[in-house]
Symmetry: C2
Subunit: 362 residues, 2 copies
């Protein structure tokens, strides 16, 4: 320590007698650069870089001097420059169909938090629940140089047709299943729906309707939830009435409301409804009220997701509660791992869940 290799002209806090030119070079946007910090601390900018990135090979004394210079100058790294040189952005993309839907807002909050703990920022893309939007999100994420992408895919079923994804850290979150080709944190779609349906049956329901989204192929959320429903009915020896299977164009409150109205208007007797998501269940709840049916006295209702609103409706909504925090943490963990080790074999998780029994199935 205490080398005196550095002459007086480069002592800490002094400006090196550099030519005018080196001042004018970075007159840029009035930003403080590493060069400035280096000059202030009397070291090279590479040393500043080493301190900023917490690499070793920097002596304690010099490190302190640099930190002090950073503090005094108000220096902030220029992320673009870092990215350009290192190829890393520190940003993870999160692509969701619609941030406005409570479930995705909820999920996003957890992802942002988990990513923050790992030192990543999160940029949100809205895909509009269309396959095209989801493919776009992948393309965008490369354009913007996200280090990786968490894709909450709903529609995108032929990802192999989009060459953009090759070798890119991509984690599927939620619904879709791609046969093990990607890291995937899945919802307990089948298991959860089965548990929900079984719960209704155990409460005495015998005419249980299910309100799902459009069934587009055999691997997606809708079909899996369907399967859980059918399995539960079979197990309880309840017959299947096709008139009680309802599908929606989108998973919105409005669609749920309309479905409930049509269900009641159709004249079929029902005493229980399994809704594909809580958002839809909120609509169903409203639709049943529109038709003068009481929940749970006339019809029992159960949802899926456990969005915050579900605990506050009147009556409060029973639901399948996947551990969203757990899902977000696993997803972030998986992208982070894959960014570091692109060739690790893919991992499939299914989120744990519990049934939240509230007033709508009392």
């Amino acid at each position: 320590m205490g080398r005196d290799k550095l002459g007086a002209a480069t002592a800490p806090g002094q400006l090196r007698p550099a030519g005018v030119k080196s001042y004018q070079q970075n007159a840029g946007h009035g930003m403080v650069t590493m060069e400035d910090v280096a000059r202030l601390a009397g070291v090279s900018k590479m040393t500043v870089s080493n301190v900023v990135n917490n690499r070793d090979g920097v002596g304690d004394l010099v490190r302190q001097r640099v930190l002090e210079a950073i503090r005094r100058s108000g220096y902030r790294v220029n992320v673009s420059a870092r990215t350009l040189r290192s190829g890393r952005t520190g940003v993870i993309g999160l692509a969701v169909p619609d941030i406005e839907l409570p479930y995705f807002g909820h999920l996003a909050a957890h992802v942002i938090e988990a990513a923050g703990r790992q030192g990543f920022h999160v940029a949100i893309e809205q895909t509009g629940a269309a396959a095209a939007g989801e493919a776009d999100a992948i393309a965008h994420s490369r354009t913007l140089h996200f280090d990786g992408l968490i894709l909450s895919a709903v529609e995108l079923d032929r990802l192999d047709e989009h060459p953009a994804e090759a070798g890119y850290p991509l984690v599927m979150l939620g619904e879709q299943d791609f046969g093990g080709r990607f890291d995937h944190v899945a919802m307990p779609n089948e298991e959860g729906t089965k548990a929900a349906t079984t719960h209704l049956a155990d409460r005495g329901c015998r005419r249980i309707a299910i309100v799902t989204g459009r069934a587009s192929d055999d691997v997606n959320m809708v079909t899996r939830r369907h399967r859980g429903y059918l399995a539960a009915l079979a197990e309880r020896g309840i017959g299947i009435d096709p008139a009680l299977l309802f599908s929606l164009d989108d998973a919105s409150m409005e669609a749920g409301r309309e479905a409930a109205c049509r269900l009641v208007d159709s004249g079929h007797e029902i005493d229980g409804v399994v809704a594909v998501t809580d958002t839809v269940a909120l609509g169903v709840l409203r639709g049943l009220a529109d038709r003068g049916l009481r929940v749970p006295e006339d019809v029992r209702l159960i949802g899926f997701d456990d969005i915050p609103e579900s605990g506050f409706t009147v009556p409060s909504l029973s639901t399948v509660a996947p551990d969203h925090r757990w899902m977000a943490e696993r997803a972030v963990e998986l992208v982070a791992q894959r960014i570091r080790a692109p060739l690790r074999p893919t991992v499939q998780y299914i989120a744990p869940f519990e049934l939240m029994i509230r007033e709508s199935t009392r």
Copy 2:
């Protein structure tokens, strides 16, 4: 056209007989660069840049050739490099207290859409409704080189103490008022709350409670909404009972529920409640149900924001509906303008609103 200035060696689609070196230089991360496109099209990379950025000074024939080369090579601009050189990122930051709250999710969706139309991406920061978080968001946005920031500030009342903001394109959205020092798209806090309270009075309510957030200073949302409430009561000749003024620690559903319970338990007679936000109103609705009071028969209830859920509760919620789309569009427009012209005088907007009369005040 049809210049033959370009020799055979640089004809379109041909590779220039460049040394091996120039291939190895950008072996980087397997990305296609402008250099590659330029070589393919037989032009300089500056020309490619001009085409990509739609600048003029490029002939039609060459432009076509470059576009074709871009298409064939699958080129995408490297945003980091562009940013480093030009100082622009094309990203606007949106800082909100909590993306999970429906109101902010709703708003974010509109901002993302409006920004997209102006060619900007949006990155979301969560501030946790704390002044520190909001100041952090400003600092972050500079670190990440957002071109500008839309800040939905709740707590940050002394922005002048944070030097970070000087000369930075910053637009306040929603609650706070900074005396004209920033561009500001404000909620119609006072006007809206006054209209809501008047509406309750006109429905016959005489014991109208208000449930607000914590009143921290005299310019923020809470106090403005308070003022609107008081003004309405005065105008209708209704006395003010301090026992009917309730304040919450945060604007959550849970807080609303507790407030409603305490309000009822306190034994004071009430026949109307003005809630500071719809989210709080959802909680109040639930709290009143907990205590066996019917809405609107026993107590009428009105909220503020018109979040999507409000139309689907039982009973559905009357509310003040500011035009969120309008707000998002103005906010994006203002940042965009300020990015282009940093010194333009500040602009203050107050959003238009309407009363949505639903079942909770029938």
